[in-house]
């Protein structure tokens, strides 16, 4: 009573070579872009406060690295705390939503509100209530990360195959067993969809928050705060350095979530095996 063997995932040398080629090509395009940029500035005599040369940006990253790293870390911590808090709270709210269609109907409009009111519109209120600084920025990040987590987790919790529920009932499963062994596990892939979306906007949210509610003490603040500061001082080269740091932060968040998703899902979930590029 042997059957066909286990299917094996396809991969191997061909895939690796292909990926390497793609990597080399994209690095070449990037280098060409930098070269063109440098040439345009040298040929066109563009003043450095309008557009600094890539070399100058590299220099300023090197010169002011401690300050840059500090800003990076402040924003990274704020965005992480806001994101993690939104995951915890979002899953909690989703659990409430998953209890009945009635609670969903009653409460869902409020998450819609969360999603549709522009965050910059309520930022002044937040500053008024909690004061400028890290607290306000974390709260802003938390608020804009919340809706995708709630929506996706709820979807995962309620979209359980009816027969699986029946299976659990046939074994006289308790409500707790259905929740922890079935619904929550079933919701993890959708939770990750939510986290992926929220991780992207967490960085944007933290930086935007810092533009308005950056710091409680002058000269010390995250990337958004420093961006405002550098632009007011016409330190365009440092502004570029900050933009590079912001992009790096966004990438880091993306890859950390990407890795976690792979780590938790790759063994059993189809989508984690062939991730699509967004």
């Amino acid at each position: 009573m042997r059957d066909s063997d286990i299917a094996h995932a396809v991969g191997g040398a061909h895939g690796v070579r292909h990926r390497l080629l793609v990597l080399v090509n994209s690095l070449a395009i990037f280098a060409a872009f930098l070269l063109l940029w440098e040439l345009v500035i040298r040929a066109g005599h563009v003043p450095p406060f309008i557009l600094p040369s890539p070399w100058r940006v590299a220099e300023v990253i090197h010169e002011r690295f401690p300050a840059l790293a500090q800003s990076f870390m402040i924003t990274a911590v704020t965005a992480s705390v806001g994101l993690v808090a939104s995951i915890v709270a979002g899953v909690g709210v989703a659990l409430v939503f998953a209890q009945s269609r009635w609670t969903r109907r009653l409460l869902y409009p409020y998450t819609l509100l969360l999603q549709t009111v522009p965050i910059v519109a309520i930022t002044p209120l937040i500053i008024l209530w909690v004061g400028a600084g890290t607290g306000a920025v974390t709260l802003i990040t938390f608020i804009i990360c919340l809706a995708p987590i709630i929506a996706n987790t709820t979807q995962g919790l309620i979209s359980v195959d009816e027969n699986l529920i029946h299976l659990f009932l046939m074994h006289n499963a308790t409500r707790g067993q259905v929740l922890f062994k079935l619904r929550l596990r079933n919701a993890i892939p959708s939770l990750f969809v939510g986290i992926r979306i929220s991780a992207g906007i967490a960085v944007i949210g933290a930086i935007t928050g810092e533009l308005f509610a950056g710091s409680s003490s002058v000269g010390r603040g995250g990337l958004g705060y420093s961006i405002i500061y550098a632009s007011q001082q016409l330190q365009t080269d440092y502004l570029f350095a900050l933009i590079v740091a912001s992009a790096l932060l966004g990438f880091s968040f993306y890859f950390i979530v990407y890795f976690l998703e792979w780590y938790f899902l790759h063994e059993w979930h189809e989508s984690a095996r062939t991730p699509e590029v967004e």
């Binding site: 009573m1 059957d3 066909s4 286990i6 299976l167 067993q177 062994k181 979930h269």
Partner: protein, 261 residues
């Protein structure tokens, strides 16, 4: 009462009893259902689509309540009798995040059987259904036939006395299906469960059953209740005998009558 002599099993305790059972969703699905299933019976339910075959299984398992009439399983209400039964669905209904072994042990785990006891039992069952070599694999790595065997192993883990099977092999190709049928009979000879089996296939029903109930549709009523007069010990070659052919023809005719009734 007929004057015919009664067979010994007529006196056996019925495991399932339906008395005047009706079920309504938005329309009347089943009406006036009276039948009983004796211990050790293998009863197949055949009928045109939409006659409520699957609903009969849901009623026996208490997954849906009857609107009128009484259903007794082992003398108890269906919900109270759940411990004695296992349900095998049309889809394998496996948990994709669990390994083959963890899937097979799900029922025992939900019934809070301690881990060591569970593992021992599950390993023996995986051996029985020929899945030991993939115990650590995940469901997505299995073929359709293997998934179904896993589903059966999981159902058997809780030592059911009554198996409810809802077109379990409908999604398999015919050769795999035939082989699964033979394996099912072999397991039944060892374990002596009572089985209620819903299917679309007359040949499958004849091959497996000791008795076939044919339902008519709109609403579902019992059109015929036919004992299968084939030898108890059955092997693959039964399918090529004239007796088997005759039986399939007779049931097919009854099914056709039920459709036009």
């Amino acid at each position: 009462m007929s004057a015919q002599p009664r067979r010994a099993q007529d006196f056996a305790v019925p495991q399932i009893e339906f008395a005047g059972v009706a079920k309504k969703y938005d329309r009347l699905i089943l009406d006036g259902l009276n039948f009983s299933v004796t211990k050790g019976d293998f009863v197949s339910i055949l009928g045109p689509s939409g006659c409520g075959k699957s609903t009969v299984l849901k009623l026996i398992s208490g997954l849906t309540p009857a609107n009128s009439g009484t259903i007794l399983v082992d003398g108890m209400t269906p919900k109270n009798a759940r411990e004695t039964m296992s349900f095998i669905f049309q889809d394998p209904t496996l948990l994709p995040w669990r390994t083959v072994r963890a899937n097979a042990g799900l029922g025992l785990e939900l019934e809070r059987v301690p881990r060591e006891k569970r593992d021992e039992k599950v390993d023996a069952l995986l051996e029985l259904v020929g899945l030991s070599h993939v115990a650590r694999a995940y469901p997505r790595q299995l073929s359709g036939g293997m998934k179904m065997r896993l589903s059966i192993a999981r159902a058997l883990a809780t030592d059911p006395r009554l198996l409810l099977m809802d077109e379990p092999f409908a999604a398999l190709d015919e050769m795999t299906r035939d082989r699964m049928n033979e394996e099912l009979l072999r397991l039944r000879d060892e374990q002596k469960w009572t089985v209620v089996f819903v299917t679309h296939s007359v040949a499958e029903a004849v091959f497996l059953s000791t008795r076939i109930i044919v339902l008519s549709a709109n609403p579902g009523r019992i059109h015929a209740d036919i004992p299968v007069m084939l030898p108890a010990a059955r092997a693959a070659d039964l399918r090529t005998t004239p007796e088997f052919e005759q039986c399939v023809t007779a049931i097919s005719r009854t099914l056709w009558e039920a459709r036009t009734a």
